[in-house]
């Protein structure tokens, strides 16, 4: 329901955008034509024409036409290269563009008063940024499709490789990566030829950073492809034999490589940012480039985070086997013995040996975390590459259980904040994939899904929900406790909608938790067909259902 609604909304929006664009383009073209016509009457040679054409308010018209040109080319390129944008792509663009644009405006603050060139540079930068975002997102999508195809259709390595090489998006990512560097080189190199323009330099640097990001993405993509081609393809259908080939199906060191790439790119970025700022401010004595502040801060922070993650990953993978106990049959029996990561059954070591008469591979050992959740060791290891928290309840896997709700909260935010780096695009994609699978299963196994959601609900914020937790048999939140609802990650809440927890009492009446202090109760009765349900915004105490 929710998805359909949103899709319609966006589709409508697109249509309207198209209408606006056509209107805008028409008005702009008319203005431009008038301006040209008028100037032709005023000028007798090219120089005079150009002066008149770019003088006063006519300059505004010219700039507007440049804007229009960029918009139209962008739209046409988008339609011809990518077709309609997916929701996630639009979201990414809307999410990243404002900050980027503000940064660009800071670039213009250097006193280089070449207005047209500046407009052109901004146009090019924004255009490339958007196409970078789209092409990466689109490539993720393609990658996922191919991956799914590899798993389900049993394709050979060469076929997988060919699928990539024949895909336009793959080459687009490659193209944009190289173009970023080419433009950066052009803009920056220009400065060193003695044609000085600080603005060009700043823009060039921005392109270089973008290029580094794209290159990082591209190399990680290559790693993923490599993994897919070498380890996954041709591994046969999913049957019981899979257990034997498990070891070959996973590229153990991929995580390390990924991390190395991330760290390398982060370090490269921060070093070049710092170096550049040094050169500009101390060496050349120019004013501090404000537009670089954000980038510098982000790159330094990212470097720190990546290194920390790598260290903790290395440590945790050491500790993994020794510190976490294998789950026993009883443990598995208490839960649904399904690994949340790979959605496959888990068997205790002894049980497996007893039934199958052979040793369980180390990756399939069920490991019980401190919070009580059980996962395959291999899956856990993969997960730990990205996070040191339990995938189910987000408590730390290894540290002593002192984690406060604040710390988990901040960690969560971090996870959401991370999204603007390509590094996490991949993660996010992976996570989405998992969630997709989640949804798939919920369709068949609704009860299971709800129980897992409930799990999340109850265990997420232990201190806050302790009261509810203790009375886990009852699902009613009592007065005085906070109330929380955790939606699945892919759920979308329309802008002016809200969600309130609804509980059913024994006597066929319902209770609605409005806030910590208010609740409403209502009762189900047979309905007179002439009366419609009327919902009024909960703007006070007087929520009432007329019937």
């Amino acid at each position: 329901m929710v998805f359909v609604y949103n899709y319609d909304l966006i589709k409508m929006n697109l249509d309207r955008t198209l209408k606006y664009m056509i209107g805008y383009a028409t008005v702009s073209s008319i203005l431009l034509a008038w301006s040209v016509y008028d100037c032709l009457g005023l000028s007798s040679d090219l120089f005079t024409f150009l002066i008149e054409f770019t003088n006063g308010y006519r300059l505004g018209i010219v700039i507007n036409s440049i804007l229009m040109f960029f918009l139209l080319t962008g739209k046409i390129l988008q339609l011809s290269l990518f077709g309609e944008l997916r929701i996630i792509e639009t979201e990414h663009i809307l999410e990243k563009l404002p900050i980027f644009f503000v940064n660009l405006l800071f670039n213009l603050s250097s006193n280089d008063n070449n207005l047209l060139l500046n407009c052109f540079l901004v146009g090019i930068s924004v255009g490339f940024k958007i196409f970078n975002i789209i092409s990466m997102d689109r490539m993720d999508f393609v990658h996922m499709k191919i991956q799914n195809a590899v798993i389900s259709d049993n394709i050979t390595s060469s076929e997988t490789l060919r699928k990539y090489l024949l895909n336009m998006n793959f080459w687009l990512v490659f193209f944009f990566t190289t173009m970023n560097f080419a433009i950066a080189k052009f803009l920056v190199y220009d400065v060193f030829q003695g044609i000085n323009s600080v603005t060009c330099l700043l823009f060039g640097f921005q392109f270089a950073v973008q290029g580094v990001d794209a290159l990082t993405y591209f190399s990680k993509l290559s790693l993923n492809i490599y993994e897919l081609v070498i380890y996954r393809s041709g591994s046969g259908a999913l049957d019981d034999d899979i257990d034997y080939e498990d070891e070959e199906q996973v590229w153990e060191n991929k995580g390390i490589f990924m991390k190395t790439i991330d760290i390398g790119s982060a370090i490269l970025k921060s070093v070049s940012y710092l170096g550049f700022i040094y050169l500009l401010t101390f060496h050349s004595g120019l004013s501090l480039p404000i537009s670089m502040m954000q980038g510098t801060y982000m790159s330094l922070k990212q470097t720190y985070k990546e290194v920390k993650q790598l260290l903790s990953f290395v440590e945790s993978s050491k500790k993994l086997d020794s510190q976490l106990p294998n789950a026993t049959d009883n443990d598995l029996g208490d839960s649904d013995n399904l690994c949340i990561v790979c959605r496959e059954d888990m068997h205790s070591v002894e049980e497996y040996e007893r039934v199958h008469n052979r040793k369980l591979s180390a990756r399939r050992y069920p490991k019980k975390l401190r919070c009580g959740h059980i996962l395959h060791m291999g899956c856990l290891k993969d997960w730990l590459e990205r996070s040191e928290l339990c995938p189910l309840c987000r408590r730390k896997v290894f540290l002593s259980d002192q984690s406060t709700p604040e710390s988990t909260n901040s960690n969560m935010h971090e996870r959401f904040d991370e999204d603007d780096t390509t590094n996490n695009n991949m993660e996010r994609q992976d996570f989405q994939r998992q969630n997709n699978r989640d949804i798939d299963t919920t369709e068949t196994n609704g009860a299971d899904y709800f129980s897992s959601v409930r799990d999340v609900n109850e265990t997420d914020h232990p201190t806050l929900n302790r009261f509810g937790n203790e009375q886990s048999s009852s699902r009613i939140f009592h007065e005085g406790t906070y109330q929380q609802i955790r939606l699945p990650r892919n759920a979308l809440l329309p802008p002016d909608w809200t969600i309130l927890p609804l509980t059913k009492n024994e006597d066929n009446s319902y209770e609605l938790q409005l806030s910590t202090y208010d609740r409403a109760s209502f009762r189900k009765e047979s309905k007179n067909s002439r009366h419609e349900l009327n919902i009024i915004e909960p703007n006070g105490q007087n929520l009432r259902l007329h019937n």
Partner: protein
């Protein structure tokens, strides 16, 4: 009008002296008829006036078969019957009988087209010839010389040597026009070799005549040079308002005062504007301009009104209050005193002058009033008798305030009003110093005295370092002469009058006569009438130009270029570079380059751009090899000059960008040719960047260039306020406005939505009421919703305000 007067004065002399000559009766009869015609004749309504000429002056196509410009105003050719049926036949008979005066009169009629008579230069030529064969006459010789000098732009024979000969005849017969023409021709070597000494001789002669006239007539605003304008300036200059770099010559005093008045009125809303209005209106009529003839009596009246009003307002007792209005009242007084002092608009009345001037100084000391008082006391006619001490005190005070006339008057006082012996005057050092100051402050008469001092040779005794230099002195005399426009360039006024009527051929005649006599602006005007650059798109048909006229135009442009007119120089360059469409005009890239180079030496952005262009495309002396480095150098220079004048730099930036791209793609081939020492290396590059970044003040006289840049706008100096806004400001304004607009629209939408919701609810409630289930509850709910709706709007309003304050 002037030419009529000239003609008329002539006629009176003729009648007096030569009544006995053959044909005198007819001539007399004709003169009576002319008088009658003058009283009956009213010139057709003028086509151009103050309001419609700006950016609207269009020179039509010249039709060489009709020997006139195309009649775009559709004016019927109408010759008054008295002229065609009575006067002309009478004059012709008289001329045939051997009356050379009648012959000259006929020549003038056919040259100047008096009383709308269609001109005919060949007829005029033959009548003038006929006249001088009968008897030597300076005017006739001058006109013949003029016809030979210009060839009447293709209608007659062109011969510069003959022209010189006739001018010399004219000069020998004491014709001032001829002397002036000869002076200029000798100065620049037109039809003769350059001879500064000869030019100096002629200019000195004219200057002395001018000085005599000045002494006789007194210095009144009548002698202000206002007709020596460049016609293209009506359209913003030869290259339009945005590109032209020569200072604008059209200075409309009436518009200027009008604008100034409005400006002052805007700034001082709290006080009455009467005095400001009085004062500036008086100024307007006092000076007059091209389209508004000076009216001294009216100015006098207004000033009287002003003072009467002041007496009424302040009862003459609190004259000493310091007030914005009082300042203008004081200036009214000063002006009135001045008018009585010089006898402009009224008889000279030293008593009245003294009264008003003293009233003025009681309110506020202005340099003009102080100077006038000084003049008054220095004069024998002063009511209290001549008082040199007082005079000197007043003049010194005025001089301290930097008033240029005060310097002249001090010098005159020192000369003891005996102009002849100032060279042997014991105070000659002081006199010279004051004259010099007066020259630099821009006083016209001082120019004459300054040149006199040099020519007499006593400067050597006073300032041994200042050396006698023929060229310099000629310049001073020339400037002095050119400032006395009504005496020496009467044809300029004729030209402007004819322009107002849309008679472009006569306009050209007037301006070309002045151009032959060396008036630089007139040279540009003549060139403009002969050849106009055409816009890419025009509602008129594209014009063609005969090679005769193009040659003549180029000749005038060259003369104007010699007079340091930047736009003419650049235009010459353009003509030589691109040629003229539809004519066999010969291109010469080297010449073009040299002209651009000359413009460049005068800090012309346009010239620099064109040089850059030539280098970029390998034109001219570059010999088909592009030189991007030189091109960049000149584009940069162009950019700099453009920046100094706060003008549009975008096209130059574009050119630089284009150059950059070209360089990028052709680097290899260029680097092969030129072994450029690239001191590469990152750190070096950054250092260079720093150097260039802070390198805003460098070598060249920026002040001079800036001065030049300012000059173009001098005529319209009050537009500056508008131009200071940058495009960026407009963009910010636009963005802000659209931001508020969006918020506003959103608010409105919200309000409408809420209103609609409220309505819906009403309906629902009504339904409910009808159903009788919730009838009692319905009404309060309804009221509540309405309150909500109103409240929602209030919040919206508060939002807008909030955003407003945030910005």
């Amino acid at each position: 009008m002037k030419q009529y007067i000239v003609v008329f004065v002539f006629l009176i002399n003729i009648v007096k002296v030569l009544s006995a000559v053959d044909g005198a009766e007819q001539l007399e009869e004709a003169l009576i008829r002319i008088e009658r015609l003058r009283s009956q004749y009213s010139p057709p309504a003028s086509i151009y006036n103050r309001r419609n000429i700006d950016n609207n002056l269009y020179i039509p196509q010249y039709d060489s078969s009709k020997e006139d410009y195309e009649n775009i105003f559709n004016r019927p050719a109408f010759v008054h019957p008295i002229l065609s049926d009575e006067i002309l036949p009478l004059l012709e008979t008289s001329a045939e009988k051997g009356n050379h005066e009648a012959s000259i009169l006929l020549g003038d009629f056919y040259t100047f087209g008096n009383f709308s008579l269609p001109v005919n230069y060949s007829k005029a030529y033959s009548y003038y010839r006929h006249a001088v064969q009968l008897k030597a006459n300076g005017h006739a010789y001058f006109m013949l010389g003029f016809f030979y000098a210009t060839g009447a732009f293709g209608e007659l024979e062109l011969d510069q040597h003959k022209a010189n000969l006739y001018f010399e005849f004219g000069a020998a017969n004491d014709d001032v026009n001829s002397i002036l023409a000869l002076a200029y021709r000798n100065l620049h070597g037109v039809g003769t070799s350059i001879s500064c000494e000869k030019a100096l001789y002629y200019y000195t002669r004219v200057a002395h005549i001018g000085m005599d006239l000045l002494r006789k007539n007194g210095v009144t605003p009548d002698i202000l040079p206002i007709y020596n304008i460049r016609l293209p300036d009506f359209n913003g200059g030869l290259y339009g308002n945005q590109v032209s770099e020569s200072p604008l010559t059209i200075f409309s005093t009436s518009q200027f005062y009008h604008r100034k008045k409005n400006l002052l009125n805007q700034y001082t809303i709290d006080v009455d504007h009467e005095f400001i209005d009085f004062f500036f209106d008086a100024l307007k009529y006092y000076y007059g301009d091209i389209f508004l003839p000076a009216n001294s009596t009216k100015a006098l009246e207004i000033l009287h009104d002003c003072i009467e009003y002041g007496n009424m307002m302040f009862h003459s007792k609190n004259y000493y209050t310091n007030n914005f209005n009082m300042d203008f009242l004081g200036q009214c007084n000063a002006f009135l005193g001045h008018m009585y002092l010089i006898g402009y608009g009224a008889e000279k009345d030293y008593n009245k002058a003294l009264h008003y001037l003293e009233a003025s100084t009681k309110i506020k000391n202005t340099s003009e009033a102080l100077n006038d008082l000084g003049v008054l006391y220095a004069s024998d006619m002063a009511p209290s008798g001549r008082d040199q001490v007082k005079a000197a005190r007043y003049l010194n005070r005025a001089a301290k305030m930097g008033y240029n006339e005060a310097f002249l008057n001090i010098a005159k006082l020192l000369m003891n009003n005996s102009d002849t012996n100032y060279l042997n005057n014991p105070y000659r050092d002081k006199i010279f110093d004051n004259i010099q100051k007066g020259v630099s402050a821009g006083n016209v008469e001082c120019l004459f005295y300054y040149a006199e001092f040099f020519q007499s040779g006593i400067v050597k005794d006073i300032h041994p370092e200042k050396r006698y230099n023929c060229e310099n002195i000629v310049i001073y005399y020339k400037k002095f002469v050119e400032k006395l426009e009504p005496f020496f360039f009467p044809h300029l006024r004729y030209a402007v009058e004819e322009l107002k009527q849309g008679n472009f051929k006569n306009t050209l005649l007037g301006y070309s006569i002045a151009a032959e006599q060396g008036a630089a602006n007139a040279q540009v005007s003549s060139a403009y009438l002969l050849y106009q650059t055409q816009p890419f798109r025009s509602s008129y048909k594209r014009k063609t130009f005969t090679s005769d006229r193009i040659k003549a135009a180029i000749k005038y442009l060259e003369k104007a270029s010699l007079g340091n007119d930047i736009d003419s120089t650049v235009l010459l360059g353009d003509l030589y570079l691109n040629g003229v469409e539809g004519s066999n005009f010969e291109k010469d890239q080297n010449k073009a380059f040299n002209y651009y180079k000359k413009a460049e030496s005068q800090y012309s952005s346009h010239g620099c751009y064109n040089i850059g262009y030539m280098f970029e495309y390998g034109l001219g002396p570059a010999n088909k090899t592009v030189d991007y480095f030189m091109a960049k150098r000149y584009y940069d220079l162009s950019l700099k000059y453009q920046e100094l004048s706060y003008r549009n730099k975008v096209p130059i930036n574009l050119a630089l960008l284009r150059l950059r791209l070209k360089y990028l793609f052709n680097r290899k081939s260029i680097d092969d040719h030129e072994s450029h020492d690239e001191s590469s290396g990152w750190l070096n590059a950054f250092n260079n960047m720093k150097a260039e970044y802070y390198d805003s003040n460098d070598d060249l006289n920026q002040e001079e260039a800036r001065e030049k840049a300012r000059a173009h706008h001098e005529g319209t100096s009050y537009d500056y306020d508008d131009e200071e806004y940058d495009v960026g400001d407009y963009l910010v304004l636009f963005i802000t406005c659209s931001f508020f607009l969006i918020i506003f629209v959103q608010n409105i939408m919200q309000r409408i939505r809420r209103w609609r919701n409220a309505n819906n609810n009403n309906e629902n409630n009504e339904n409910n009421a009808n159903n009788g289930i919730n009838g009692i509850d319905g009404n309060p709910q309804n009221a509540n919703d309405q309150v909500n709706a109103r409240f929602g709007f209030n919040i919206g309003g508060a939002n807008v305000e909030f955003h407003f304050f945030a910005i």
